[in-house]
Symmetry: C2
């Protein structure tokens, strides 16, 4: 077995599986219920194809039909469950996130890097704050514009990082967004040197976020933990003098006890 990276349209590539997953992924927050034709359009396949996969997913219990409409069943959560359960440090890290959230009254989360995205894996939210943007587990944030993404990119070696940067075409999200790869690279190197990363409204107006990397005792990078808050409510000084140390303390604890 050679460690050959991928297979695009190879002999062993099972197209039907890819298409089926595309159908599952066609459902999102804006399209929770769709007709066969809508699914076909969203997943970019003809109706006959979409129908086969919808019927199969229906038979397997992953989608249900209400008249002409199809929607997901909670069974799809099972697909992500194995991943969550496979991280042995998950409960410990959750405890630290809960503690920070309880103390500071701010949202915290653990994300891991997957390609160009930082994927939200764990989170803790304060009881109040009804207006907070509700991100759920599985949400993908652009690595380039999130503190968790940048602080994990900072852990790559120069070669890997530069290769990654090469592939990026930066898309500004707000007026604060860094737009040149060169500037982004500087921010990442800064994060590497400092050991933490702050991103100030580059992803969304008003969103201020600080992140640090977390390591297991054996040095393995487990991901990044962060605190997200509102730029109007919290100033940069509080963020650095109060919030950052809480994150660093948690990361240190995890590093010590995650073995």
């Amino acid at each position: 077995m050679d460690d050959q990276v991928l297979q695009p349209g190879d002999r062993d590539y099972v197209g039907a599986l890819a298409s089926g997953l595309d159908v599952l992924l066609a459902f999102d927050a804006e399209h929770p219920r769709m007709t066969l034709s809508e699914v076909a359009a969203k997943a970019e396949m003809d109706r006959a194809k979409a129908r086969r996969f919808l019927l199969t997913l229906h038979a397997l219990g992953f989608v249900k039909r209400a008249g002409r409409y199809f929607e997901l069943t909670p069974k799809v959560l099972q697909l992500g469950y194995a991943y969550q359960a496979s991280n042995q440090y998950r409960p410990m890290i959750q405890q630290y996130l809960d503690e920070i959230t309880a103390t500071l009254g701010e949202s915290t989360s653990l994300t891991v890097l997957d390609g160009d995205s930082a994927v939200l894996v764990l989170r803790a939210t304060p009881p109040q704050r009804l207006m907070a943007i509700q991100l759920s587990v599985g949400t993908r944030l652009p690595a380039a514009y999130s503190s968790m993404g940048r602080v994990q990119l900072a852990q790559m070696d120069d070669e890997t990082l530069d290769a990654w940067l090469q592939r990026q075409t930066l898309q500004a999200h707000t007026a604060y967004s860094v737009t040149h790869v060169k500037a982004l690279r500087e921010r990442i190197l800064e994060a590497r040197q400092q050991g933490y990363c702050i991103v100030d409204q580059e992803l969304e107006l008003g969103l201020l976020s600080v992140a640090v990397p977390v390591f297991a005792a054996n040095g393995e990078l487990l991901g990044a933990i962060n605190i997200s808050t509102n730029a109007v409510r919290v100033d940069m000084n509080t963020l650095v003098s109060r919030y950052l140390p809480a994150l660093q303390e948690a990361a240190a604890q995890i590093h010590t006890y995650a073995r």
Copy 2:
């Protein structure tokens, strides 16, 4: 389009998709990393077949290979994400769960019924309590032996309920477990009449749980919310006089505002 329930080995049934999902589901807490042969054994297919699906999932980014071992990537979380995002009442319900957990210091959760299981959809856990059983989103609990399951079964009409009970072969989990379908039926009818359900260590020794159903303003059953605690720490009186009212209050609020 007739509302025909399922398709087992039908013309339109895409076996490849089913097999691919089986491979994904082969990974669990006890088997987070597996070789090709292990996956094949776990998913009950020959090695060649398992290999095709693993390579395809690898190409799609859902699994990664570390030498001879395969493991899931965080991308699988995306599959469950759409379901989570599709529930518009999720953030509101989460708030109420967080509140109850903050007030009582106990774990709370929202589950929905899916076949024979109550699937955990949302949860809130108190910051302390390191020993608590960590259930994660997507976990499936037997509907027959969980308070959330029973209180949702109680919402079925008699005919549907009896058909459901017919299909059950009860498997006792502890010495407290109800073992006869007839007795289970009585518990469920009791839950229907009372509007809540308490299950005392029938699923796991020491696990005491109370649940109530939650409805949207239009009367639609959204699921069940529950409080799980330890039978040693909390007595039945506290459960009924303190915990239950908190759940009922939250359910009433949700019923009023979920529109």
